[in-house]
Amino acid sequence: MLSDFGAAQSLRNSARHMLQTGNNVRRFGPKRVHHFDNVIQIETEVHHRVHSVYENPDVGLTGSPTMRVREWVQTKSFEYQHQFGINVLRGAYGEFTE
């Protein structure tokens, strides 16, 4: 599987970003989660920013005082998570281009 990303790995200062996360492999299957449509090559700093969004709580994103974004989004469908991931990426890019 990793060999599929050979070209992407050769890019400097970049990271692969999956629009869904680890636990979803069991739920939706590895083929769907690791598919090219669901993986994107992004700059490392944007990847770190997106990662921190998912790892932290955010009352706006979850509506909950305690849930981490990752925990909350994992309750949603594949399609919802995919779109949500794209929107978080757009937001992260917006911060770096402001």
Binding site: S52, N56, G63, P65, G91, E98
Partner: protein
């Protein structure tokens, strides 16, 4: 400074520190401070919630967004206005503000639920009066 003002300041400082925290552990600690400050304010009832509305004028969009998100039930019109305004912008704070409005519409918002009415209480009070 009153205890309520102290809690409002703790809330705002928590949001500012949360926004700039680089480690998950630090962000979690700051987030806990925010939630605890809000809980403290709710101990004062609507007086505490009203005091938090002062942060609707804070220069930081993140602080305004967090205050408005917590106050969506208490002062829905003003909080919605604040969140809509922030959501017009770019970046993750804008996205989060827009999402807060979505969570509210979807009924997934659980930051300050309305107190539950105790069934039968008014009936028994009526009965007590009649006696």
């Amino acid at each position: 400074m009153t205890k309520i003002e102290d809690l409002v300041m703790s809330f705002a400082e928590g949001v500012r520190a949360f926004e700039t925290a680089s480690r998950v552990r630090d962000a979690t600690r700051e987030h806990t401070q925010i939630v605890e400050a809000f809980k403290g304010l709710t101990q004062y009832g609507d007086e505490g919630r009203d005091a938090l509305m002062a942060l609707f004028e804070d220069p930081s969009p993140k602080v305004r967004s967090y205050a408005a998100t917590f106050l969506l039930r208490h002062c829905n019109d003003e909080a919605t206005r604040v969140l809509k305004d922030i959501a017009k912008g770019e970046g993750l704070v804008a996205f989060s503000a827009g999402q807060a409005l979505e969570r509210w519409k979807e009924g997934e918002w659980s930051l300050d639920p309305a107190p539950k009415k105790r069934p039968g209480l008014s009936k028994s009070r009526k009965g007590a009066k009649a006696k």
